[in-house]
Symmetry: C2
Subunit: 189 residues, 2 copies
DNA sequence: GAGGTTTTCGAACGGTCGTCCGATTGAGGA
DNA sequence: TCCTCAATCGGACGACCGTTCGAAAACCTC
């Protein structure tokens, strides 16, 4: 029986609550109950709700990067890595849609609160940098032969992933949307 | 001095509050105060908060369609219409970013509440149908000569618009993001 | 002008929220 | 063993939430 500290337990519980109910319906009491802990423990370890949520974002970002790095093997070509990212998103949407809902929720938080905006911006910048350096390399850019920069194409690529994923969640009965993610490969073809 | 009914005033106030503070921080009291009206008037006219919000979504969708229809002149070619939609999004992001934040917020609501999901899905379906029939026509599809359907390309196109717009709002100091919207024209080139 | 209906108001209700505080517990060093 | 300090707890606080209700006001019809 592994014994994690309360701090960790609270963080897990917070993520679980947000994934289940969404941020808007997640209260500190719910989180504390899910963690099997007194409410005041949250203030003790994370100062306040905002502090806890920022920690959740940070942890989610770390997880994401590890996940991504695990899938993008060094021996792949840039194009293969692009396809791989697409496949990864498709897999998430099918197997673990809550993951994307949390991403959407936290990004939404960032639209209204400056501290969250700064933190989420970092997360997005990390994703973008990964895509820029792994997929839209100088090699691939020269291959494509059009005028767009790697940053532009990365924005386009990730924006497309995000926007299509939202549509897929709004219309889960329409399987065509998830598979239309594959069409995103037009940006590196 | 035009005299709109209270019903209309409440709807305006609700939209204004959401645009200013986001849905999560908008209460019926704020809305009532903004409208210069008693709180109980909201329940009287819209039954409850959900009813009011659904009305807000419906009104926003109507406004959107009128806006779009005004910009897409019948004499334009499909490609021109595509460029026009892109330019329209760029204009919104620069002049009236709250419009997009509201769209994002309401779509986020739809991820967690079934009634909202159904209503927002209708809105998105309307947008998608407009893009499908106006931009990705059979004529253009044949011109492009690749295997994707009009629906797939429309998903890609709108998803890209949405995802890039989010990045632009998270990083308003980075003007390159807004202009990278133009690169979305790769999908019909 | 009287009477009935719709509209509007302010107050109140029961809940839930995030935060704070004093008391209790527990582990580790003197 | 005692002292200290960090960790944990339950309860309380004031604020705000969405909803409801009875009374007042406004409107319309006769």
């Amino acid at each position: 029986m592994l014994e994690r500290g309360q701090e960790e337990k609270i963080l897990d519980a917070a993520y679980a609550c947000i994934a289940r109910d969404g941020y808007a319906h997640t209260s500190l009491r719910h989180i504390a109950h899910e963690a099997g802990v007194a409410v005041s423990q949250i203030s003790y370890h994370y100062k306040n709700k905002e502090g806890l949520l920022l920690a959740v974002v940070e942890r989610a970002a770390t997880n994401y990067h590890a996940y991504m790095q695990e899938y993008l093997h060094p021996h792949m070509s840039p194009r293969e890595k692009g396809e791989c990212v697409i496949a990864l998103f498709q897999g998430v949407l099918e197997d673990d849609p809550e993951l994307f809902r949390v991403l959407y929720d936290l990004a939404g938080l960032a639209l209204w609160s400056e501290p969250f905006r700064l933190q989420v911006r970092e997360v997005f910048a990390g994703i973008m940098e990964q895509i820029t350096t792994e997929v839209f390399t100088a090699e691939l850019l020269g291959d494509l032969g059009h005028q767009h920069t790697a940053e532009t194409l990365a924005s386009l690529f990730f924006g497309g992933l995000f926007g299509i994923a939202l549509q897929a969640l709004l219309e889960p009965e329409n399987k065509a949307i998830v598979s239309s993610l594959s069409a995103l490969s037009v940006v590196f073809k």
